[in-house]
């Protein structure tokens, strides 16, 4: 698809921003998000090409405004719902329960 992910040759994104001594993960959740997505792939819940495509299908504004590991996370959540593994309602209910338990 001719999506926002197909960036080769585009202009206007500005200078390349680098970080000295960058850690592997900036937040604990990043490692966990990556692990969960890899596990879903390893478990055959979806394949790598389906996973790339679900991220490409994200609205362009969302794609550009969230980080790499958030794209992995949101991609996995969306794809698991499409595959019938974890429905959107089930996910929302769990999110609410965890938020209430933590507050």
């Amino acid at each position: 698809m001719n999506g926002i992910h197909d960036m080769g040759g585009m202009h206007g994104f500005g200078p390349i921003v680098r970080e000295a001594d960058e850690p592997v993960f900036h937040h604990e959740w990043e490692g966990k998000a990556l692990a969960l997505a890899r596990i879903a792939l390893a478990g055959g819940l979806f394949n790598l090409d389906e996973f790339r495509h679900v991220m490409e299908r994200m609205p362009p504004v969302q794609y550009l405004s969230i980080s790499y590991y958030e794209r992995w996370l949101e991609g996995a959540i969306a794809l698991l719902a499409e595959k019938g593994v974890i429905s959107a309602d089930e996910f929302t209910a769990r999110l609410t329960a965890l938020a209430e338990a933590g507050s």
């Binding site: 960036m7 959740w29 998000a33 596990i39 938020a99």
Partner: protein, 197 residues
Amino acid sequence: MTADAHGDADVALRVRALESLLLEKGLVESPAIDEIIDLFENRLGPQNGARVVARAWSDPEFKARLLANATDAIVEMGYEAVQGEDMVVVENTPRVHNLVVCTLCSCFPWATLGLPPVWYKSAPYRSRAASDPRGVLLEFGTAVADEAEVRVWDSNAELRYMVLPERPAGTDAMGEDELLALVTRDSMIGVTRALAP
């Protein structure tokens, strides 16, 4: 840190929700999650690629094997892992400077370089590395002579690319362990050269 604290707390909660549902459904066991995080934090990383480069600089026969069949040569060194299944190593010379990008996502040779830095995954790099590699190289402080060819490798399929940087001048007497310190992650992506001794 790029996102604010509130945003990260929300995202962290979404990760916990996904994790708890996968665990509850019996699709994953908790130690498997820790195993993957350990793999990426501690076992994969540019220290692996640097070993490959230092050996190639020191051992002409290994270098020939590496350039002819990178996958086998890298596995021979013990760096066999996900996103390193099919590897290609391209050699920088005075006449050719190679640069690796993934314009469509952020494909990267995890087996030898670990996870990519944020800049490699960013829109500025992905958009311009293909169309203006010399401009990108200058942003990294790397000037390539007009007479040389800049070769961009867009790793869009399932082969993963790594650059064999030029061995710096004045290192003839150095052994593999000393050379190792001159090989940076960025030099194996091709945005910089190896460090001078």
